[in-house]
């Protein structure tokens, strides 16, 4: 090992110098973030004064790559934006592209899309709920929920062929059909999940140590929500009743209506109950979809060239409104695809919710918005409070051996 390398490794995790404020790096590689993302926290004792996220650790350049690939290849590319809500991405992209043409997609395919989307919502919410246990040090809850989540993953694998990246929705319909065996398995498992969720509902509202970590933590008021436009459960926990599935139905959501649950508390506990209620509701929607599932083909042949035009399309991903803007110029490749993922919309709100909270709340609140940085891979430094100065740029310090942070420059 060379001297330079040795020096680097020893400097590594140590602390170089103290900055005037107590600065704590949160990430980019941190045990409570499953993905690299960097949050610069400025503390007074244990209290957080400012939060400055730096995004871009997962930036890959997908939007650019989409312009150079064909319409069909892009399905698989967009699906791999995120490993949790992968189906929401492929659903938004395929439905958006189909809306540019005159083709009629079989109704059965639309129902199947709803089915998988709801299964994915269950898996995503359960994953998040398990992680709430993980962040609050309640490993038992984490293990139990992930144990039950396996049932959903089994279903997804049995129907689509993969646990994570489903590759199910395609231009012109869906790639696989249901079999009678799968239908009965689906019914059985949704019943099981509903049953388990009932237990977790009582547990998260009654286990005192857990409640003390979630109740009243990160208050989000309606006024702030209207200003900062968060989406999904975060918006609904502030009391605003807004769900794309209900307001602007896509796929088969006209026929299978969701029940939108809101809460006025605006804290992490209300997020828990909203997400759990959505899981129960998704189970209901799945059995409803199975009851009404029409017969027929699941796929129609689709052209490789899409007519010229713009499509604005959004779906309700597990984390909230996922927006796609698709512009076609009549060639085999899209002209521009813009993706706005729910986490980007929610990040400002999370930073606002964190201010004035103790350090111990960071993982709970920050991850309470259910961030999915793989989706987002864009953005930076935020400070909503207008009286504060902006601080960015100028490298000074290596933190946790991995991170440079930025400050100086730019005023409001």
């Amino acid at each position: 090992m060379s001297e330079e390398e040795k020096e680097r490794r020893e400097v590594g995790a140590g602390l170089m110098e103290y900055s005037p404020e107590n600065l704590v790096p949160f990430g980019p590689v941190h045990p409570s973030l499953k993905e690299p993302e960097y949050f610069k926290l400025i503390l007074e004792g244990e209290k957080i004064v400012e939060v400055h996220p730096r995004i871009g650790y997962v930036h890959r350049g997908i939007e650019r790559a989409a312009q150079d690939r064909t319409w069909v290849k892009n399905i698989y590319l967009f699906e791999r934006i995120c490993g949790i809500c992968s189906f929401a991405h492929s659903l938004a992209y395929t439905e958006g592209t189909e809306s540019l043409t005159e083709f009629q997609i079989p109704v059965r395919a639309k129902y199947l899309r709803v089915l998988i989307a709801e299964l994915e919502r269950i898996h995503s919410h359960l994953l998040w709920l398990g992680l709430v246990g993980y962040w609050t040090g309640f490993d038992t809850l984490f293990m139990w929920i992930w144990k039950d989540r396996e049932h959903v993953l089994d279903l997804l694998e049995a129907i689509t062929g993969n646990r994570v990246h489903k590759s199910f929705s395609t231009l012109g319909g869906v790639r696989k059909d249901l079999t009678p065996a799968l239908v009965s398995k689906l019914e059985e498992e949704t019943k099981f999940i509903t049953e388990r969720v009932k237990y977790y509902e009582t547990l998260v509202h009654s286990e005192e140590t857990l409640v003390s970590r979630t109740r009243g933590v990160g208050r989000l008021t309606k006024e702030i929500a209207e200003r900062l436009c968060p989406v999904g459960p975060l918006l609904r926990c502030s009391g605003i009743d807004r769900d794309v599935r209900k307001e602007d139905p896509y796929a088969a959501y006209e026929f299978i209506q969701p029940e939108v649950k809101t809460s006025n508390a605006g804290d992490i506990e209300s997020l828990l109950s909203i997400r759990l209620a959505e899981v129960t509701d998704s189970c209901r929607m799945i059995s409803e979809a199975l009851d009404r599932l029409p017969e027929g083909p699941v796929r129609v042949p689709f052209p490789r060239i899409i007519p010229r035009g713009d499509a604005f399309f959004h779906v309700e991903a597990p984390r909230g409104e996922l927006f796609y803007f698709i512009r076609s110029n009549g060639t085999p490749k899209p002209e521009r695809v813009k993706i706005r993922t729910p986490t980007l919309a929610n990040l400002l709100t999370a930073a606002e919710m964190l201010k004035g909270r103790p350090l111990a709340d960071v993982p709970v609140v920050l991850t309470g918005i259910d961030p999915c940085f793989g989706c987002m891979d864009r953005v930076t430094v935020i400070d909503v409070d207008k009286s504060k100065k902006w601080s960015v740029s100028g490298e000074e310090l290596r933190v946790y051996g991995i991170e440079y942070y930025r400050r100086g420059a730019g005023k409001r």
Partner: protein, 131 residues
Amino acid sequence: MSKKRIGKALGEMFKTAMEEPVTVKYPFGAVIVAERFRGKLDVDPIRCTGCGVCEIVCPAGVITMVPVGKRSIGQREIEVKKPVFDLYTCISCGQCVEDCRFGALALTNKFELAVFDKGSLIMKKALKVVQ
């Protein structure tokens, strides 16, 4: 909403401890993989005609067509190409299987693919059969 209490999870904990653990036997026993599971890509060298459609549709750039020889059709002599699969970067999406008109490609349910040498994941099976 039920009453707040410390140790609410205790009952369920003991219940779980009494039950059989859900853990799979895997490394010490067989594993059941779903029928539709998309695992390792496999090619049938005899059916493959070297048309090159798979190379065009593959989203991950797994497939490259390499020339393996020449063949004469009537007066003309054309170059015969066969696919080489860089399976290490394959995403098992199945688009090539869908678009192969000759049924030469298939996704198996093999998943135990860990290797010490990346090169051994390059599949050159299709090159051997040249008519």
